[in-house]
């Protein structure tokens, strides 16, 4: 285990060997899109976690009480749509500003 850790650390330290001699160039289109992608990735990941909780609760509810399906399905769509809208809020802000 310790040998594995030492090997991995050495490999990571050797990473700068891949740097180009001309110096790292800025990404095409500037840094805006990189930061935007990072932020959006965060937003989508957290939204996915939230939506998964909703879906799990819906599945359990429908399993416990199959006759309540219409009401539970309604709550499912409402919950998912609201969480999705939050991600779309931040996407619209980024799309409008970071172009």
């Amino acid at each position: 285990m310790r040998k594995l850790l030492f090997m991995l650390t050495t490999l990571l330290l050797a990473a700068p060997a891949f740097a180009q001699p001309g110096g790292a160039a800025a990404p095409a289109g500037g840094w805006n899109w990189s930061f935007a992608a990072l932020g959006l990735g965060f937003a989508v990941g957290l939204a996915a976690l939230g939506q998964s909780k909703v879906a799990a609760a819906v599945a359990e509810g429908m399993a416990r009480n199959p006759s309540a399906r219409p009401g539970i399905q309604l709550a499912l769509f409402l919950g998912l749509a609201f969480i999705e809208s939050l991600v779309l809020f931040i996407w619209v802000m980024i799309f409008l500003r970071a172009s």
Binding site: S85, F89, V92
Partner: protein, 243 residues
């Protein structure tokens, strides 16, 4: 000349002169005087015309003994909005039913017309959902004032009197945020649906974008329902009686 849809070009060919003259009289100078009507405006006019024709047809086909398909659809729509109003607004909901039903049908038609080739969704531009949200804001505040009179401001004061200035500020900001959230929610969902379809169209032009157009239909239905639901909730809050 801007990029125009066929229907927009038709409207501009027919009405560009009078519309530009009317706008100039109001000191508004369109960027392209030969095409003062933009795509979203033309699409909204088309939606209104189609809805008027549909409702006229429906009126002609109403019958007590032999209800047709359109009548069934209209009755179930009425049931749907009526149930939502009763549940969220309370006992006096019939007054608001015309606005709620018209808003719901209009937004749904605007969102769905973008799926037809040669038309685009007016709700995919920020101005149209903003218009709907401002209309809702004015409507529920108007009815709140009409119902409560000057006591409408008490809703904004909060429970305790000495916190009233702070709570008033927070309430005003929260009400303005409602307009913003209604607008951005509808606009972002419609715009994102379009972008996603375009993105997959640029990758695989055949077959795959149809899946995303189907998703767009589902999203349009859900977002219309959410818009009308929130309108009913705000109306209910504005005209509520603290018995």
């Amino acid at each position: 000349m801007p990029e125009q849809l066929p229907f927009t070009a038709l409207l501009n060919r027919a009405f560009a002169g009078p519309v530009t003259a009317a706008l100039n009289a109001l000191h508004l100078y369109p960027k392209y005087p030969a095409a003062p009507i933009s795509n979203p405006v033309a699409m909204q006019i088309l939606v209104v015309l189609l809805l008027v024709v549909a409702f006229m047809l429906l009126r002609l086909r109403l019958s007590v003994d032999h209800p047709g398909g359109m009548q069934h659809m209209a009755e179930s729509t009425h049931e749907f909005f009526s149930g939502m109003g009763r549940e969220l607004i309370g006992h006096d909901y019939e007054r608001f039913l015309p606005y709620i039903t018209a808003l719901g049908i209009y937004i749904l038609a605007c969102c769905l017309i973008g799926l037809v080739p040669a038309f685009e969704s007016p709700t995919a531009t920020p101005a149209v959902p903003l218009g709907c949200a401002i209309a809702t804001f004015v409507y529920y505040n108007f009815h709140g004032v009409k119902h409560h009179g000057a006591g409408y401001a008490k809703q904004f004061m909060g429970p305790v009197l000495f916190l009233a200035p702070l709570v008033f500020l927070i309430e005003v900001v929260s009400h303005l945020a409602r307009v913003l959230s209604l607008t951005v929610r509808l606009f972002a969902n419609m715009f994102a649906g379009e972008m996603v379809t375009l993105a997959f169209f640029s990758l695989i032009p055949l077959g795959v974008p149809v899946i995303f157009m189907g998703l767009h239909i589902g999203v349009a239905l859900i977002q219309t329902y959410i818009f009308v639901l929130l309108t009913c909730v705000y109306l209910g809050a504005a005209v509520s009686h603290e018995h």
